[in-house]
Symmetry: C2
Subunit: 251 residues, 2 copies
DNA sequence: CTTGGTCTGTTCGCTACCGAACAAAGTTTA
DNA sequence: TAAACTTTGTTCGGTAGCGAACAGACCAAG
């Protein structure tokens, strides 16, 4: 397990504020490991801790009665969870499950709320991130209605790739099906199609992405759209902060 | 056109704060009419005004490239739009179209931001409302994937009924189809089914709801779910405010 | 090596919705 | 009254994904 110091600056949201701001915040955080399958929140849970992943992937899943869970988004070190507290609500609307092991900076709600109040640059970043999360939920609503499984699968794989920072994903078709809200058979067909197009290959829970650009071309526009939203909103923000507090920009 | 005074207290969100808080806020508002078909925002627009409907219905619609617009939610006097500014983002992610004429209290962004900063009880309510909007977008994402047209139509009609405060809705099947993101033929079939079950009747753009409870039974759980979310989050909130600032609760 | 478990492939009939096209009924305008 | 338009009804073939069931391939443990 790395130290707080070692992961300092490994979460892209926290990176958007000055070293000083970030230092004050991270001081209240504890570094915890994210183990595959860990459930960080269940729907309706009162939230005790806020997580800023530095490595690993968490899926953010909605369940409606009578239907299986469905992934709304994946969260890696570009994000945090959950946004509720930013809006003064300490109930989780979704389930959060670790889908790739890693680490996260974890802060208790009380300290988080205090930081929100006394750390304006961080508050700004997090509010903006909450907006991004909202936009992506709206995007998902339309995507789920209009786009076909093969394209949605391509999108999901790309989202995994981005957050895993690797072309090799450890994930079965069964799990992909659950996340996409479809049957495993559907994923077998779609994944078979992707493989025949030489975009990916897979066997027994190991997916290898061979042609990222090909996947992008096949994925629905929602993939690029979500990335653009993130970049636009949080980059604009970075510039804004730069005006107020002269900081060196992160990578 | 009624006066500011006459509609004072006609928006349920503004009603959640004390008379004093509300008065200070409404003082900066202008009462504007919402005419059928008016487009208040287009996606990507910079936001100049924030709206608090007191009468009428606005649809909040997402478009993704290559697909038609799709309604994410309807907004009446229980809500406001858009939530972006609450998160310090003044870009609209969606289109907002007046679907039933009425009135709204409109406030310029500058005044709104100032109020947010200096009116903590209102800020709290609006942040909570933003959370509700987020939860409902997440709900819509799952609903659009899992639920069938007939159930989604029933839900949409109930949402109209609630906000119109009337059993008679002026809306064609063509428009319903656009809002649901399906073909008009699909709505004809679904609406025909509802009519055969004596839940509604309609002719040439006039829908009459005969059996609200029947519609509720047929609508997907998302209808009740959304209402519960709204009630829980904003009611909890009301109590919370009551602890801080002793106020008389609204209806 | 065998057994049992996990993962992937395939098939069957079925349903919801699609796109396109046209018909019929009601409403407004001339 | 006739013509133009809007709204609703119906039909056609096609497709994406459903539920259920089973077969084969691969892996790990005994």
């Amino acid at each position: 397990m790395p130290t707080n110091q070692a992961v300092f600056g490994s979460n892209r949201l926290l990176n958007l504020v000055t070293d000083t701001c970030r230092k004050g915040f991270v001081h209240h955080c504890e570094l915890v490991s994210l183990n595959l399958g860990d459930v960080l929140y269940n729907p309706g849970d009162f939230i005790a801790h806020i997580y800023f992943p530095v490595k690993g992937i968490i899926s953010w899943e909605k369940q409606i009665i009578g239907s299986p869970y469905l992934v709304i988004t994946l969260i890696g070190n570009e994000g945090m969870l959950s946004i509720g507290l930013i809006l003064d609500v300490n109930i989780s609307p979704c389930r959060a499950v670790v889908r790739k092991a890693g680490f996260a900076l974890r802060i208790p709600v009380s300290a988080f709320v205090h930081q929100l109040e006394h750390n304006p640059p961080l508050r700004l970043v997090l509010k903006n991130y909450a907006f991004v999360a909202y936009s992506q939920a709206v995007q998902a609503a339309a995507c789920n209605l209009f786009h076909q499984l093969e394209n949605r699968l391509a999108r999901l794989l790309l989202m995994f790739q981005d957050r895993a920072k690797s072309d090799e994903l450890h994930i079965t078709q069964e799990l992909l099906a659950q996340m996409l809200g479809v049957r495993r058979v559907g994923v077998t067909k779609a994944a078979g199609s992707l493989q025949r197009q030489n975009l990916i290959s897979y066997s027994r829970g190991n997916v290898i992405i061979h042609d990222t650009n090909g996947l992008k071309a096949l994925s629905c526009v929602c993939y690029q759209s979500d990335k653009l939203t993130y970049a636009n909103i949080l980059h604009t923000q970075t510039n804004y902060i730069a005006d107020v507090l002269p900081i060196q920009l992160p990578i």
